[in-house]
């Protein structure tokens, strides 16, 4: 107990070590349990994890794959994290990505004769506009009608998935006579450039990282960020302080949706170069996982998105080399989160006992209790 007190007294880093302690323990437990499952399926877990590690770090190309795969997780992760900060569960990231990608597709297909940078920005703006409007629906329903946002966003995600399926198979934007449903190819000027020869590394992951930093600053140092955090910590206090909580909920959901839409646009403009069916399947749940392991902090999203993307890219290699299905990656992701939250609550219990002894330090446990609510 004494040493823990000492750690906390180290400014910034001590706090960080202590607050991320349960996250690391949870992740280790998740990896351990994943290993057990791999062992049950008849493969040596050490070999499996070794091939996973090789798959992610073997060459420059594989590491650039990790970065590319992390781009939707980064943007989706911050989208969910902002929601968590203001106390709403913005679980419809997958839907926002599809709608954003549709928006980008509409502008990306015609040759507009614009310089690439303008064309790409136009695609981004339209994507964010589309996704923002889409996100405003569950935001409005949650804030003004009291509809549970988890159900609403997930239902709307399904609507978005089927809408995308129509766009690529029945609409005027679809490629006719394709062996697989897809849209028409995008104009050259709209495609994101490849940053490194021989890889598929596009600027997307760096846009994602930049967004993490921007939103860290917004949440920490602007009045808007303060209002968001206040609403998440204590909605009643926020109400008394004169914050229009309904408007704030809609705005945070729309921002989350816009980030998701941007993620979808980057995915099609940078990687796919056409719109396909179900091109980000599973990212909806994974974004929630990313945001949770990060504890709702944009800076933490950077690390957790990279970690999950290593698991996903490595999982594909693991599946080729050892025969363990690549879906094992999503099992490990889910296990990590379940352990992180399971361990985390116990941690906050201990902290609360400390708080009861010493009311002056009532910061950490309060933060953690409210972060998961």
């Amino acid at each position: 107990m004494r040493t823990k007190e000492k750690i906390i007294k180290v400014p910034f880093i001590g706090d960080l070590i202590y607050s991320s302690g349960h996250t690391i323990v949870g992740i280790l437990l998740g990896i351990f349990t994943g290993g057990l499952l791999i062992a049950i399926s008849g493969v040596n877990p050490f070999l499996a994890y070794a091939s996973m590690f090789r798959g992610a770090f073997n060459s420059l190309q594989s590491f650039s794959n990790v970065l590319v795969r992390s781009s939707p997780l980064l943007l989706g992760g911050i989208g969910v994290a902002i929601g968590i900060k203001s106390g709403v569960w913005n679980t419809g990231i997958e839907g926002y990505m599809y709608i954003g990608a549709i928006g980008a597709t509409i502008v990306a297909i015609p040759e507009l004769g614009l310089p690439p940078i303008i064309h790409i920005l136009l695609c981004f703006i339209v994507a964010m506009l589309f996704a923002g409007l889409w996100g405003a629906i569950p935001g409005y329903l949650r804030a003004y009608k009291g509809v549970n946002e988890v159900t609403a966003t997930i239902m709307l995600s399904y609507v978005a998935i089927y809408f995308t399926n129509w766009i690529v198979s029945g609409s005027p934007l679809a490629q006719e006579g394709a062996y697989f449903p897809m849209s028409l190819p995008f104009a050259k000027s709209s495609l994101l450039s490849i940053l490194m020869k021989g890889t598929s590394l596009h600027p997307g992951p760096f846009i994602g990282l930049l967004m993490c930093i921007i939103f860290h600053i917004i949440l920490k140092y602007t009045p808007f960020g303060f209002r968001t955090r206040m609403l998440g910590h204590n909605p009643f206090a926020a109400q008394y302080a004169g914050i229009n909580s309904k408007k704030q909920i809609v705005i945070t959901m729309v921002i989350g949706a816009m980030l998701g839409g941007l993620g979808g646009a980057i995915e099609v403009l940078g990687l796919k170069h056409r719109l396909y069916m179900e091109f980000v399947t599973g990212v909806g749940y994974e974004s929630v996982a990313v945001a949770l392991v990060a504890g709702g902090e944009p800076i933490g999203v950077m690390l957790s998105a990279l970690f999950f993307s290593i698991l996903k890219v490595g999982g594909a290699t693991m599946s080729i080399e050892t025969g363990v299905s690549s879906s094992m990656a999503s099992i490990i992701i889910a296990l990590c989160v379940l352990f992180v939250i399971g361990v985390g609550v116990a941690d906050s219990k201990r902290l609360k006992k400390r708080d009861e002894k010493d009311p002056g330090k009532k910061t950490l446990s309060f933060k953690m209790e409210e972060a998961v609510k």
Partner: protein, 308 residues
């Protein structure tokens, strides 16, 4: 011709709503005790695979449903341990159970390659063949697989248990005022464990029925198609009341059956828009009904024995 289509639609509506009703009845108890079991979507998915796989290997549907129930019990214990004992956030826990279920069913289904092209035998009808020929009610009601009848029966049982038994009263009390229930000498934790396990068993069995009462196939990667969340919506639309929830489930089942029927007919509406229909109807129904429902007072909040 149209008469036959309508009969077929009514028949399918009831058939599709059976798993929704069973799942919803379990969920009502969990939510009445104050816990949202968001994991029912994933548990349903696991049940769907379990049902098909066990009925393929054991060649018995009773064994398959029993296996589903056992699986639901295990998953329910996990959910209950996390949300009740560890007091984790119920939304997160549920969503991660869903992610876990998608991954796990994909992994297991990729191993069970023999099952890919085999169709499990589906449930038979409860009433004899001769009764199916009675006009109107014959094809709509008596040709139903027996699970439909069980589902409706379960809804009545649930209503009775919730309102007329001591245990049902305890469950309702726990959801509205856990502290008072604890003061009255009941174990809040135990009751919440019971309702959560009940709802997980119901979801798992519903998943088994989903495949065994209709197609007999399992499709990897989200074959439940958000039905768990539709059930969550149905429970809210039905105001946490078994009878009203049953009708909400029937409405959603009917929408599902209608879009499947309309897809096969040559209509000008693209199939994708028809496929959206159940989800759109769910959101619309939620929006209309949500204000009229009386929410259990501690809905979604973790119970902390020391804080009162």
């Amino acid at each position: 011709m149209t008469y036959e289509i309508i009969l077929d639609w009514l028949q399918a509506s009831l058939r599709w709503s059976a798993p929704l009703i069973i799942c919803a009845m379990g969920e009502i108890f969990a939510e009445r005790s104050g816990i949202i079991n968001m994991g029912i979507e994933g548990i349903m998915l696991c049940g769907a695979l379990c049902g098909v796989a066990v009925s393929y290997y054991a060649q018995s549907q009773a064994v398959a449903l029993f296996a589903c129930a056992i699986l639901g019990l295990v998953l329910g214990l996990i959910v209950a341990f996390l949300t009740v004992s560890r007091r984790t956030n119920q939304v997160v826990t549920g969503l991660m159970i869903n992610l876990l279920a998608i991954g796990a069913t994909n992994v297991i289904f990729s191993v069970l390659t023999v099952m890919r092209h085999k169709r499990a035998t589906t449930f038979g009808a409860l009433f004899p063949e001769s009764m199916h020929r009675i006009p109107l009610v014959g094809p709509v009601l008596f040709a139903q697989p027996f699970t439909t009848w069980i589902a409706i029966f379960i809804a009545f049982i649930a209503s009775f248990v919730l309102y007329k038994t001591r245990w049902g009263l305890n469950v309702r009390a726990v959801g509205d005022n856990p502290q008072a229930t604890a003061t009255a000498g009941l174990s809040v934790i135990k009751l919440k464990y019971q309702t959560l396990i009940l709802s997980s068993i119901a979801a798992s069995v519903a998943g088994g029925i989903l495949t065994l009462a209709s197609s007999g196939y399992f499709a990897a990667g989200g074959m439940t198609g958000g039905r768990g969340f539709i059930v969550l919506a149905a429970v809210v639309v039905g105001g946490w009341d078994p009878m009203r929830t049953m009708f909400a489930c029937m409405l959603f089942g009917a929408t599902d059956a209608a879009q499947l029927r309309l897809q096969t007919t040559e209509s000008i509406i693209p199939t994708q828009f028809l496929q959206m229909l159940p989800y759109v109807i769910t959101v619309v129904a939620l929006t209309i009904m949500v204000k009229r429902s009386r929410v259990p007072k501690t809905w979604g909040a973790a119970y902390d024995g020391r804080r009162s």
